[in-house]
Symmetry: C2
Subunit: 245 residues, 2 copies
Amino acid sequence: MHSADDQTGHLHILISRFSADGMLSHAEDNLLRSLAKVSRYHPPRRDFYVAETIPPPPRMIVTGWAAQYRQLANGQRQIISLRLPGDFILPLNRLRLPSSCAVAPLSELETVDAQPLADTLAGPAHPALAHAVRSMMHLDSVLLYDQVVRLGRQSACGRFAHLMLELHERLGRVGLAEEGSFAMSLTQDVLADVLGFSVVHVNRTIQQLRRDRLLDVRHGMVLLLQRERLQELAGWTPAAKLPGH
Amino acid sequence: MHSADDQTGHLHILISRFSADGMLSHAEDNLLRSLAKVSRYHPPRRDFYVAETIPPPPRMIVTGWAAQYRQLANGQRQIISLRLPGDFILPLNRLRLPSSCAVAPLSELETVDAQPLADTLAGPAHPALAHAVRSMMHLDSVLLYDQVVRLGRQSACGRFAHLMLELHERLGRVGLAEEGSFAMSLTQDVLADVLGFSVVHVNRTIQQLRRDRLLDVRHGMVLLLQRERLQELAGWTPAAKLPGH
DNA sequence: CGCGGTGTTGACAACAGTCAATTACTGTGG
DNA sequence: CCACAGTAATTGACTGTTGTCAACACCGCG
């Protein structure tokens, strides 16, 4: 689990996420490498609403998926955001404030301590890293806006397509997606809690998209069959095309 | 519009928002007072999706309501978050990143320049203000989580009730709500875009809550008639009771 | 008085949740 | 290799919720 291969895999995720905006100094590069050493493992859980969640200090995922979610009194649950390799989990500010949502692994999960990255925000020592961290936090809030729009204003197929396009882009950013496909091992149960559907309706939505030959989900793989039509259906705008870029 | 009364009103909002967590130093108090001077005015707009929006530099509302929203290709729109007096509008980070949503006034609006407040985050000069700003940013993201949960997992009445309880609490924090009521001058059109409903369904939902004598909306006033039952219906947790506090 | 914006209502169609049963997939032990 | 159990995916029938369309009521204002 902690072989040399894994270590370089971890580094790949970290580097790809942090050097996107510009060059890192030697010191910053070293900081990233030192992080990769302290990776950790979290076992998967089904019915994660009763499972133990990931403990408080901020971490970054290097392998596996997690979910930031809220548990409702009536037993339902809503996933606020899916966390993928290269994403932070738990807020980076050092405030002891109610986060008001929990984080749980959706698969085997490996994380590294992100506190050193959070600390770059405070001082001037690592400007490029600090900038990257800030821009990742910003991207996170934009993803939340997308989630609100999906839940509030999109049709079932549009919602699903939009989520798949988002995951494809996010995974692609860290080298975990092919041209028109990516690996996704979420149960329809979990997808329902992301999209605000019932399990049955998730299934029906997938059938629909399958019939229309727009995308397919099988064997833990998502195939985006007709990118153009999917984007149109979902009202999708690639992050690179957002105003301001 | 810029009388002495307005100035003290502005100060009241600012002080109530920033001194909640602790005492401000003399210098910090002065910084707030200097802000109150540069207030500004934005005219209201209906059909705000085509109206001009508030320009880039970060500001804080001292009077009136605004909406942070996304305009969809098919003409629909989704309000991500309602911005009330004491709230920031536009992100505080100095990054030139795509915000991917616009902000428009929902009423007459007065704002002050929030750049000096954003700048407290960078240096150690105003620790109490910086802490207050950070905690406000954190609160904003928690409100976004609430919005996601509302849209994803709550019934029509629950959604509406939850939003009203949230607005009551947020307005109360800056002294703009009574014991069981507050002033709200949103059209059902706007409420629909917040809640992800059609206008007609917003109306039906209000009728329902009215029939059940849980709350009433009339003459620009929201009356929370039965706090307990509303909270139960909405699965509402007051911010003070969130885990971590 | 007419007008535009807003709130309200009813009829209908489309969408989505629930329940219950069936099928497919996976890993385990014999 | 098969049987088995447990999980996940799928389907149909039914019900309840929500959107759409269209009409009407109400109000403030010129």
